[in-house]
Symmetry: C2
Subunit: 646 residues, 2 copies
């Protein structure tokens, strides 16, 4: 942990600042005093027992700054108890991963002295966030000074203040030294090596590390496809019917890599201690509202919202809205085909170089329109899912992912399906696929990395100039660092990054047999993606709170659904290839029946494979069962002793 | 519990006999003494702390009887500790189901006084079996008196003696009174009512009760099919193309009932306390052998068998054997078609009543041959799976089920598929289906209930006559009851019963659209099946040890696989119907593409439905989460207290 920055707490001793709380400028004194008091109070009195201090603004504070910025930290002992609270798994002396307990602390591998350095800063920040979120109202009826900001026993104080806007933001601080080291080993020197996943996990947490792990795995898995694709592209450019073999390869590939990823991700998650970590009880998400009632599970007072009402909203508003959007997307697609036909007409009438270029224009425009529609829909979907008022963040997330996936899938691939199976025009399919893929990749890279970076630079330039003027080359003081980081954009989670990978996976698995270069393009894109994503995580965004994750969650399902669709699509493409058609010269019916039979066989094999390949590698399975067995045995022994004593 | 029968233990006090252990006639004295000593020894010295006495043979023992028969019981306190050991769930004061703990015993609903009557006899017997199985060798190198019967620390004594044949059998005793009551409310008075599932569970355990629950549910679920089937059969007998609607109905039906069963079975299992019960660590099954090594999970000495060897046996012997059997089955099918053609030829040449009857003869012979082949294959599969030397009973069971299912499915349905899709002869399909179904039902009922009953009666007649002569109408003494029950056949588990239901489900879901009476026949069969199964459980077989079960296990999967096959089959049948064909008069290709599209849509909906419908009903989900939440909270409180004390 960084030692260089520290603040003095009320007792006069120093502590390392971990998390920043920013309250609104006009927050009333009594509310602030009350909140700080609750944060500092001992746990047995319902407090969080954390250390918190107001940030003293830097000397050069000439412009108006918000004084209500607080830094939060904790004693080592408190953090270790917190680690037990949140159920952290750490490496035990015997090499297995076990739930950390304070009583047992000296049996953990990296525990030395008083435990300084045992927890990473990201873990400490996660613990502090957990403790802050779990700070619950006792018998306060409202936030002091704000009679309208109702509280009830058990309500999370931080969440209420956040949803009412008094609490502007809570974010963890970056570690300059650590970040410099990480960014150097990660993206600063361009070399052929794996990403430092353990370091990424150490700094950003498991959820982020799994995303980068998946990105890397996906890129590596694409390399064989790309290697096969290049000669295909170079030598069989006009030989459309050779793609049968490629389609077959495609099929096997996308099934196998997804199965293997599950095993790899289990290995990673085991090593990071998240695989067998128990999920904590999920609290209502901040935006959730309802009539105050009693939660049947916890018995606590909590807003309740009738499920029937939510279902009504989903079925009567959300689903029709999604269908309407799909219809709109279809309409835009039809306009695209009109434009396409018009360009073709012009080219046919008078073929010059410029009309040749014109042929690509509709596809490019369509690709841009698709990206814009996806973006707008993304916001609409978020609004709508929020309005559906889901109680848990996880269900909210699932409904959002489902909405966005369905639309994005349709929006990106509908035209390709139409060209492939209705128009059956393989040349147009190839051309359209290439344009869509390349345009969307370029747009994405711009939107995702260069735009935020440019905005960030413009913003920082002024601040930085002033800084250098006053400070010279010295290290930034804490107050300045906090101010800089507070102004950075907030990273909204891995959603959009996964979504992009999902669409790329779709382009490759669905249609790469007609355009073998797709895999090559995606590999190139992914390599730059690693760098731009790493860059944006390290320099553009505020540090995100680490999120423990044991797998990529709903995305595994989404990718698997895509691979099932890929089986169907590739079989259909195989059936349509002249090569295969030539085997059944007399009867189209026979051909279709064979293809359908083959497809059913593949789908069945796929499901059997999913069953047969264990999701967790054997050696980890053994370690997990050993833990379970030991806890069973310990329980038994306790009982025997107990029985003997009776 | 039955009070009428009791034996005196070594202290002179009485105990209720629960389980019988029969050792071989020529077992050496020292082995017996050692075993009894181990069974009686205190738990802290590694004993089972049970009560065990030799059965004093009845006065009229004129014929040679085995004197090495022992009855086992336990004190109430011991049984209650055992209940905690095996993780029994019982109803708590607040109506939820909780893991029983001795310390907390007075908070359980039905606990009164010293706990007499809290556990059902089946539970007591299960506990005793568990404790006997867990009686482990300490430092004995072999069973005393048998230097060749090697032991090693941690080896289950009972399993070793059983596998070496010294231990002939261990079985729980029937309760005459309880059994009389159960059989009366279950099958003795024929009335329209549900089965007394709770009583069945009380007497036979959860596994058996779930089987009967499933049988009942399946029968009820078939009634709508049967009701629709009758008018179809009566009025549209020759109107083959009306079956499209019926096939559609079939499709929805088999998906929905399986989903609903999952929910119903979760409700039942929750009420019986098996839903959230943790699985105990699985010991190697009795027949497992290998080289002594160290189990990586438990760290105990245990025979190990290389997985590679097992895989070799599976891939090089078992799979080829299964394929050979499938080929044989195909060969027999072809002979059947030859016979069929021959009978048809005779009938066509000279159609009389007798040649009309002759038409059915090949199907009947084929049905009988199928049953015989299934029976022989069943034994072969069991032998082969044993030879594969699986470590766990559950993997053994899964491999056996898979082998048997594949063959039985093929054997029973291959001819029907051939007739339906290769010959496309709907009249023959209907006739063949009817004959197969009726013949196999009749055969099954005979094999399953009447034959064992008849054998049993013949066996018992002599014994019973003698009994009545000496005893008059008085109750049987314990020694006689034990002797009678020891001679009864052993119930081998629900495997064959589920298999029969699986095949019946196949007949109905796959082809009932061409023979709507199938559902009616299956309903009739199931109603008699309930009675004959109940009858055989109560009078023909030894009482089985109760098996805790939370669901029907691998059979749920098997039924779901069948319902997927049913979707494909029914879609194909719909596509072949003249009615549907008439919509596409000009193009067969169009027809096939539509049918395939429809089928894919159905399959997708099926999988989405499986996801959308929660497997556990909401109110039970809430109860389960409440338990989990409470245990989390308790843990947290304990930690806070702990931290405050530090």
């Amino acid at each position: 942990m960084q030692k260089s920055l520290s603040v003095y707490d009320s007792d006069g001793s120093t502590f390392a600042p971990l998390v920043v709380i920013e309250l609104a400028l006009e927050t009333k004194e009594e509310a602030i005093a009350w909140l700080l008091n609750r944060v500092r109070d001992k746990q047995q009195y319902g407090g969080a027992e954390l250390l918190v201090e107001q940030l003293t603004p830097g000397a050069q504070g000439t412009e108006k700054v918000n004084p209500n910025v607080y830094v939060v930290g904790a004693s080592w002992q408190r953090l270790l108890y917190g680690a037990e609270d949140v159920g952290l798994f750490k490496e035990f002396n015997d090499g297995s991963m076990r739930g950390f307990t304070y009583a047992n602390k000296h049996n953990f591998k990296e525990f030395q002295g008083d435990g300084d350095g045992f927890l990473s800063m990201a873990e400490c920040q996660y613990i502090i966030k957990h403790e802050l979120d779990n700070l619950r109202a006792k018998d306060e009826a409202h936030v002091p000074g704000y009679p309208k900001m109702k509280l009830y026993p058990g309500k999370s104080v931080i969440r209420r203040m956040q949803s009412k806007g008094i609490l502007v933001q809570v974010f963890p601080l970056h570690e300059k030294e650590e970040l410099k080291r990480l960014s150097f080993s990660w993206y600063k020197n361009i070399k052929l090596s794996f990403q430092p996943l353990d370091d990424i996990r150490h700094y950003f947490g498991e959820g982020m590390a799994l995303y980068f792990g998946f990105l890397e795995y996906f890129t590596l898995a694409l390399i064989p496809m790309a290697l096969i694709g290049i000669p295909y592209y170079l030598f069989d450019w006009e030989d459309y019917d050779k793609f049968t073999v490629f389609a077959g390869f495609n099929l096997v590939w996308c099934t196998v890599i997804l199965e293997l990823w599950k095993r790899l991700s289990a290995s990673l998650a085991y090593g990071w201690g998240t695989l067998s970590r128990k999920k904590a009880f999920e609290e209502p998400r901040p935006g959730f509202h309802g009539v105050l009632g009693v939660n049947p599970v916890t018995g606590r007072a909590e807003p309740l919202y009738s499920n029937a009402k939510r279902q009504l909203r989903i079925y009567l508003v959300s689903i029709p809205f999604v269908l309407l959007c799909l219809y709109l997307s279809l309409y835009v697609m039809m306009i695209y085909f009109d434009m396409e036909g018009w360009a073709l007409m012009i080219h046919d009438e008078e073929p010059t170089f410029w009309t040749g270029v014109l042929l690509f224009i509709p596809s490019i425009i369509y690709a841009v329109v698709i990206e814009i529609m996806n973006l707008i829909y993304r916001y609409a979907a978020e609004f709508l899912t929020g309005w559906e008022n889901h109680r848990l963040k996880s269900t909210f997330q699932n409904h959002l992912v489902l909405k966005v996936l369905v639309f994005n899938f349709f929006n990106c691939f509908a035209s390709l399906f139409y060209i492939a199976f209705v128009m059956q025009d393989m040349v147009l399919l190839r051309q359209s696929l290439a344009t869509l893929l390349i345009t969307s990749q370029i747009l994405n890279q711009i939107m995702e990395a260069f735009l935020p970076y440019w905005l960030q630079r413009r913003r920082n330039k002024k601040a930085h100039k002033r800084m250098i003027k006053t400070m010279g080359d010295k290290e930034l003081p804490l107050s300045e660092q906090v101010k800089l980081e507070a102004d950075m954009s907030t990273y909204l989670g891995t959603f959009d990054d996964y979504l992009e990978l999902f669409l790329l996976f779709g382009y490759v698995s669905l249609f790469s047999c007609v355009y073998p270069l797709a895999a090559v393009l995606v590999v190139l894109n992914n390599v730059t993606e690693v760098y731009s994503d790493a860059f944006k995580m390290c320099t553009v965004f505020k540090r995100p709170f680490s999120e423990p994750a044991a797998n990529i969650g709903v995305w595994q399902l989404a990718f698997e659904a895509m691979s099932v669709i890929a089986v169907v699509t590739n079989c259909a493409l195989i059936g349509m290839s002249p090569q295969v058609k030539s085997y059944f010269p007399e009867s189209e019916t026979q051909l279709i029946l064979w293809v359908v039979g083959f497809e059913h066989f593949l789908l069945a094999s796929k499901f059997i494979l999913t069953f047969v390949i264990p999701d967790v590698p054997k050696h980890i399975q053994i370690k997990l069962s050993r833990l379970e067995f030991e806890s069973l045995e310990a329980l038994k022994k306790r009982k025997v002793v107990h029985a003997a004593a009776n």
